[in-house]
């Protein structure tokens, strides 16, 4: 028995010792500094990255997020080896970032997805000042890109006159278009947009929807009206599918945005008279059965199902919705064709808002010994590769990637950096002339654009036998971007610039609640549970429950910046 006692004592001592060490370790202050960059055996600098991945990168066999054509180019040209500290997407990525921060081990470079996260990193002195390395190393083309946003881009990443991150850019995707089944319009002999300016009125929309419901051109047996997502609004056009943005645009209302009215007062778009009118329209349409009777409970997938199985033929969305949203429709119905319109505003124009020019940022951790590498990678990927004239000979691997359609998330920085008008410019200067035959395809040097043009030509030459992907490209470029081009040339757009894109302290605390209020009340109004005048109650509640505070905070912040 003595033996057991002895063993017990020893084991206990050992456990206590290990417990203490572990507890000490766990309580270590997470702001301890890290060693500077290590080198690999052959003298290359190591860059550890936090990577935002995507579900289907389409990498060729053997390539991974850590070892692919892009990382190899970085190794070759910049003598630096990329090692991924963590890879994740969506919420999972944000979580990994938080865990990395909490444990005090930031990767050398990583993407942060919001200005708030960036602020936190800056305030806690965790990231490097990039002002000098940017000035010194950024190529002139890169500087041109950022300049095309009137300085707003770099300003977003600047704190106290120091550039603390490399901003991603967000070109304009306006407007929120209304996509309608062209083949159904033809089938029923309807006439839309007589003046050919691609603007249609609310009345025209209503009549078209009514005709669709009454005649069931999709032979579905159960036609349904215009579907909307239950959140009704989003903050940008890229994510505006199934929202009411275009209806709000009729009354020059911009829900979810903070805008300045003619008297200089800052208002929240969702509380304006224009929004009230837009909701009134929707409520009327719902009452008449023009809008999906199950609005409010129908899920995203169910709405896409309505489109795919021919129960509805009208949907709102950005120019690129054919690429990922409408392709299934074509698969199910070979005759499907869509046309894109925008609702005509009371002022005869298409009323749109300017979107936030930045979204995410690339940051470099504070004591990393080679911050200039971040800018050099920027140059390499977004300038050198983006503008390469002889991709096949100079960068054969990358050319192959473009052919295979490898996802952009495989680049070291999963961000987009292009001029504010690049989507439109590429279309007007390259795609359109190529499709019309004005220039030859081979004159296009940008590989991605060249591919697009090729695919579209395929469709144009033989629409009946073309693949769905070609059909989608044709629609998103020729009809979608084509519409944007038309409006730009004809000066149809009426732009409003929101005064504030950020998050205030009260927004953090009460934002979710206010949003809940908005979503709930808007649905009540549209479905008729509450009369239209309930909107006024909503506005006063919104103000009371934090809205007024937010507006005050915004005004204060803006005054500071003057």
């Amino acid at each position: 028995m003595k033996k057991y006692r002895a063993i017990l004592k020893r084991v206990t001592k050992l456990s206590i010792a290990s417990m203490l060490t572990v507890s000490l370790a766990a309580c270590v202050d997470s702001s301890s500094s890290q060693e500077s960059a290590s080198k690999t055996e052959d003298g290359k600098t190591v860059i550890t990255l936090g990577r935002v991945t995507s579900a289907n990168p389409k990498l060729p066999e053997g390539d991974t997020y850590e070892n692919n054509a892009y990382t190899r180019i970085v190794e070759e040209k910049l003598d630096a080896k990329i090692v991924n500290q963590f890879e994740a997407e969506g919420e999972d990525y944000d979580r990994q970032v938080a865990l990395a921060i909490a444990s005090g081990e930031l990767p050398d470079m990583m993407r942060v997805n919001s200005k708030d996260e960036l602020k936190e990193l800056v305030e806690n002195d965790l990231i490097a000042d990039l002002t000098d390395v940017y000035e010194e190393h950024a190529s002139s083309y890169i500087k041109e890109i950022y300049d095309s946003y009137d300085g707003r881009s770099l300003a977003d990443a600047t704190f106290d006159d120091r550039l603390m991150a490399i901003p991603a850019t967000n070109g304009a995707n306006a407007p929120n278009m209304v996509w309608i089944r062209q083949d159904w319009i033809d089938k029923l002999g309807l006439e839309l947009d007589k003046d050919g300016d691609s603007l249609i009125t609310l009345e025209e929309l209503e009549n078209t929807a009514k005709a669709f419901i009454e005649n069931d051109p999709g032979a579905s047996g159960n036609p349904v009206g215009i579907p909307f997502a239950h959140w009704l609004n989003s903050g940008d056009y890229g994510g505006s599918a199934l929202t009411m943005s275009s209806v709000a645009g009729v009354f020059n209302a911009h829900p979810r945005h903070y805008i300045e009215d003619k008297n200089g007062n800052i208002m929240y778009g969702s509380t304006t008279e224009g929004t009230k009118k837009a909701l009134g329209v929707l409520a009327e349409l719902f009452d008449k059965g023009i809008i999906d009777p199950q609005f409010g409970t129908r899920t995203w997938d169910d709405i896409m199902a309505l489109l795919t199985n021919g129960q509805t033929g009208i949907v709102t969305g950005p120019w690129h919705i054919p690429d990922w949203g409408l392709s299934a429709v074509k698969e199910m119905d070979k005759n499907a064709d869509f046309v894109a319109y925008t609702l005509e505003g009371e002022n005869g124009k298409a009323n749109v808002f300017r979107e936030n020019p930045t979204g995410s940022f690339i940051v470099v951790r504070k004591d990393y010994s080679h911050p200039e590498l971040a800018v050099k990678i920027l140059n390499l990927i977004y300038d050198e590769l983006g503008n390469a004239t002889n991709l096949e000979t100079d960068y054969p691997e990358i050319a192959k990637y473009n052919e295979l359609g490898v996802d952009g998330s495989t680049r070291p920085f999963n961000i987009e950096v292009y001029k504010s008008t690049s989507t439109l410019d590429d279309f007007s200067n390259l795609i359109e002339p190529a499709v019309n035959g004005t220039i030859s395809i081979d004159e296009i040097t940008k590989a991605g654009i060249k591919n697009d043009a090729k695919t579209i030509l395929e469709y144009v030459k033989d629409p009946d036998n073309a693949e769905t992907a070609a059909w989608s490209k044709y629609h998103s470029r020729m009809k979608g971007i084509g519409l944007i081009e038309k409006f730009t040339k004809a000066d149809t757009f009426n732009w409003t610039t929101p005064v504030y894109y950020g998050t205030t302290a009260t927004m953090e605390k009460k934002g979710a609640n206010l949003l809940k209020l908005e979503e709930e009340d808007f649905i009540k109004i549209v479905t008729g549970t509450e009369p239209l005048d309930y909107f006024d109650t909503f506005v006063s509640n919104w103000k009371k429950q934090g809205g007024d505070e937010i507006i005050d905070e915004i005004e204060a912040e803006l005054a500071e910046q003057q």
Partner: protein
């Protein structure tokens, strides 16, 4: 570590001493048996508990636990001041209790019924089949539920054929909670019945034989033999589910609800999730977690005390 034992009358002192030594030694053996598990517990449960302090701080990952500002009860006060907190709390309790009560009832009934099936093959296959929905995540099941219970769905179609008006399960505040409870019960009853089945099979068949010889019919046997023998397990499981009471099922609600039913469907976790958590408001999330834990602890202790009073035995 001495354990006192009463001295039986007919033992000699020597025997007594020997037995006493045996008990003491057994005692140390017991501690030794507890040791490995306790080590794990301390490392992975107790040491991380230092994180509870985050609930009383304005925790910012970049500052770490030692560097974040101490704010005392601020988060708890904020929690109770949220405009809809009372409603949300009520929803959580109603939904959770509904699920526990109805779920336990369904699992018990099912296990009793299943036990009566003689055909082994049938019994085994049904058992396997009913425990399957447990494994499907709510992301997947929600799609099925929405399909079935939407205005055009099967359920409404059946109701229609009986002449009943269409019911808006997914969009009506009076139907949403029953929908949540009902579909959850359906998902879990099979899996939950496993424990009860184990309890039923542990009942000595001799008891049943004796009872039926005495003239007891099926129902009487269930009521007087099967159920009482299951009672400890039923109570145990019910009590053990109490700590979870404020959980009410985030995955399910999140995937089924829409703003139309926030009023009846918003539970504590979905509400907190939308209130800016998404990985950034750690302190608040921890505070809510602690709040839930305290409620759970109070419930479980009182239930244990009540069990002791009424069944003459504590459950743990």
């Amino acid at each position: 570590m001495k354990v006192q034992i009463a001295k039986p009358a007919d033992w000699t002192n020597a025997e007594m001493v020997k037995q006493q030594k045996k008990w003491n030694w057994a005692n140390s053996a017991y501690h030794l048996m507890m040791l490995p598990g306790m080590i794990f517990l301390i490392i992975f449960s107790y040491i991380p508990m230092f994180g509870i302090i985050m609930a009383f701080q304005d925790y910012i990952p970049a500052k770490g636990v030692l560097g974040s500002e101490f704010v005392g009860m601020e988060h708890f006060i904020y929690l109770f001041q949220l405009p809809d907190i009372g409603l949300v709390f009520k929803n959580t309790m109603v939904i959770a209790f509904g699920k526990i009560l109805l779920g336990t009832f369904a699992a018990i009934v099912f296990s009793i019924l299943l036990n009566e099936i003689r055909l082994k093959l049938l019994k085994k296959s049904i058992q396997t089949v009913v425990y399957l929905p447990h494994f499907l995540s709510w992301v997947v099941l929600a799609a099925v539920v929405v399909n079935m219970f939407s205005l055009d769905g099967i359920v409404n179609q059946i109701l229609n054929s009986f002449g009943i008006d269409k019911l808006n399960f997914l969009g009506s505040n009076s139907l949403f909670q029953p929908l949540l409870i009902g579909t959850d019960v359906w998902k879990e009853f099979g899996f939950n019945s496993i424990v009860y089945l184990a309890a039923i099979t542990a009942v000595d068949p001799g008891l049943h034989e004796a009872a039926s010889i005495d003239g007891a019919n099926w129902w009487k046997r269930i009521w007087h033999i099967t159920l009482p023998s299951m009672l400890p397990i039923i109570l145990l499981l019910a009590i053990l589910s109490l700590p979870n009471i404020l959980n009410a099922g985030f995955d399910q609600v999140y995937n089924l609800y829409t703003p139309m039913v926030y009023e009846s469907g918003d539970i504590l976790d979905t509400y907190v999730y939308r209130t800016g958590i998404l990985g950034r408001e750690y302190s608040f999330g921890t505070a809510v977690g602690i709040f839930k834990s305290i409620i759970g602890m109070v419930l479980i202790i009182s239930a244990n005390e009540m069990a002791k009073k009424y069944t003459d035995r504590k459950l743990f």
